[in-house]
């Protein structure tokens, strides 16, 4: 199979973000929080300060690199929570049916009707700002897509011969769901999970921008944008570089999700032009 453009570019961008996040302490030039020095305040990008410095004289490059850690951690952990909730609900609803299916369906529709960011805002308002409440808020509000996919897959898979055969051979419901249904629906779930990871990174940035997520002085891409908005005309590098980091990561994740769909779901590929 020839290598696909979206898979290669998306994968590279995402891998780069993960690499930067993992090795942030070695890649950064200075400490992102402590190394403030008013003598270097608001320096434009140069050979010394790759991405420039902010009003406190902190190195933007080092802060973007460290921000990758927080943004990706929040994105990945909250998306894992989302996928776990969505797949558990969708799989059981699709396979078991009955009142449980109706209940899960109603809940999913409810979640889809409320914009997830507004819902996350409401949760943050109750829990208060901070990393843990950010994880909870994002992890509880974005599971409806994986839930729908899991439910639809379970519905179509449960009439498959091998699921019927498993019933005849005395498998219990839980065993059928775990050994027969789940492995067969992993493809679409991975695709949706990757695409959702992009929105989770974006949602983290939005909430931090609003001051509800990671709080200054700790750097996340969203909180950096928030701090930079007053100086957008005088020191545009303060917004450009964290913005670019968000843009490239989310773009990479969307391309990756698209590329994975091409591989894992041949049906949608044939309908593509």
């Amino acid at each position: 199979m020839p290598l696909r453009f979206n898979l290669v570019v998306g994968g590279t961008l995402f891998a780069l973000a993960v690499f930067v996040g993992l090795f942030a302490p070695w890649l950064a030039h200075t400490d992102p929080v402590m190394d403030a020095n008013l003598l270097n305040a608001e320096e434009p990008p140069s050979w010394t300060w790759w991405f420039g410095t902010d009003a406190q004289g902190r190195d933007i490059y080092s802060r973007v690199v460290h921000g990758a850690r927080i943004s990706l951690t929040v994105g990945i952990v909250s998306q894992l929570i989302n996928t776990f909730i969505g797949v558990s609900l969708g799989l059981t609803a699709g396979y078991l049916g009955g009142w449980w299916d109706d209940f899960v369906n109603g809940l999913t529709n409810l979640m889809l009707a409320i914009p997830s960011l507004i819902f996350a805002l409401a949760i943050m308002a109750v829990l208060g700002p901070g990393l843990t409440s950010l994880l909870i808020a994002l992890g509880l509000t974005n599971w409806s897509f994986s839930c729908r996919i899991a439910r639809a897959s379970a519905l179509s898979l449960k009439s498959q011969g091998y699921v019927q055969a498993a019933k005849v051979l005395g498998y219990g419901n839980l065993r059928i769901m775990v050994t027969q249904l789940l492995p067969n629906m992993l493809g679409p779930i991975i695709v949706i999970g990757t695409l959702g990871l992009g929105s989770a990174v974006l949602a983290e940035a939005s909430l931090s921008f609003l001051g509800l997520g990671v709080r200054p002085p700790y750097p996340s891409w969203g909180s950096m944008l928030s701090e930079a908005r007053d100086q957008i005309t005088t020191a545009p590098w303060l917004s450009i570089f964290p913005g670019l980091a968000i843009f490239l990561t989310v773009l990479g994740l969307n391309l990756l999700g698209d590329g994975l769909r091409d591989i894992l779901d041949p049906q949608s590929r044939s309908t593509r032009v």
């Binding site: 011969g161 498993a166 005395g170």
Partner: protein, 326 residues
């Protein structure tokens, strides 16, 4: 042997729910299978063979349900068991293999694991022990190089190999009854013969009773000691497989026997045409009055159109449901 039969079906009726109206998809089904016996159920598509098998393993689901009658496994009524007890029976004491070996195996799981799962599920073995038993099970269904094949996924195996794997899974726990629903229909004729021989050998060796379901009278008669013929939801005749070929009592069975092509029969009987049974099977919702075979029967009389024939015992042993048999 007058001991308790392994499985005994007594006047079973299976209802089909058609938009709130209950129609009998099969009724008056009675038969018994003794331990280690091979029993065949023959009939056209839609005559009720497969749903009878589903009823035996307690897996009839809406819109189908058991309307009346009893199914006893070792003297105990299966319907009265709790769902958990029924599930323990399935796969352990009663196993089943299917028509489509292509779809009956999980495509993302190695075949060895699928066999091993049976030992873990029903015999409480550890995975290590179960994997070892899986290799033995594959060897017993004559799959070459079983220690390598256990790691194969179903798509890497041919149709015949997959059906062997299905047989290995079904016989893994040494069940008392194996239900084979059209086990060879999807296979090549040469592979069919191998699979049938394998099934017969393994079941004979383990003393497993077989309920073989097929539309192929020749195949069933070859494998089974006794054969029941179903038509439109009823058993119309039951005889030993020798007698059913020699003296078919019901006109429908006669038609089936007559419609079997025989090698060399053209030469023996001149240019004789293959017989056919005219007409089609009636729909479940509109079974004819009287004998259900009367619109297609060559011996039909007035009584056939009004009176449902009762079960008659045959001199040679066996039974038939026809006014004009013999």
């Amino acid at each position: 042997m007058t001991a308790v039969p392994l499985i005994e079906v007594d006047d079973l009726r299976i209802d089909l729910d058609v938009q709130g109206r209950r129609v009998a998809a099969a009724d008056g089904i009675s038969f018994r299978i003794d331990r280690g016996e091979t029993f065949g159920l023959v009939g056209e598509s839609g005559c009720g063979k497969s749903i009878t098998a589903l009823a035996l393993i307690g897996l009839l689901r809406h819109p189908l349900s058991i309307g009346a009658g009893r199914i006893r496994f070792e003297g105990r009524e299966i319907q009265n068991l709790s769902p958990a007890r029924q599930r323990e029976l399935r796969g352990d004491r009663i196993a089943m293999i299917f028509q489509e070996p292509m779809t009956a195996l999980n495509p993302v799981s190695p075949v060895g694991r699928q066999i091993a799962e049976m030992f873990v599920l029903h015999k409480g073995k550890s995975w290590r022990e179960a994997n070892r038993l899986a290799i033995e099970a594959l060897a017993s269904v004559r799959v070459p190089a079983p220690e390598r094949r256990v790691k194969d996924f179903p798509y890497q195996l041919s149709g015949g190999m997959r059906q062997r794997v299905m047989i290995a899974i079904a016989l893994a726990c040494g069940p008392d009854l194996l239900i084979a629903d059209e086990p060879t229909t999807a296979l090549d004729v040469t592979v069919q013969a191998e699979i049938i021989e394998l099934m017969r050998d393994l079941c004979a060796a383990k003393g497993t009773a077989v309920l073989m379901i097929s539309h192929d009278l020749g195949l069933v008669a070859n494998v089974c000691r006794r054969v029941a013929v179903m038509y439109a939801g009823r058993i119309v005749e039951e005889q030993s497989s020798d007698d059913i070929f020699r003296n078919p009592a019901h006109p429908y069975t006669r038609g089936l026997v007559g419609s079997l092509p025989r090698l060399g029969s053209r030469a023996a009987h001149g240019q004789s045409r293959l017989q056919e049974i005219k007409g089609v099977v009636p729909a479940i919702t509109s079974f004819p009055h009287g004998c259900r075979f009367n619109p297609r029967c060559v011996r039909v009389t007035d009584v056939c159109r009004t009176v449902e024939p009762a079960v008659d015992l045959l001199d040679a042993g066996g039974l038939v449901r026809c006014h004009h048999h013999g």
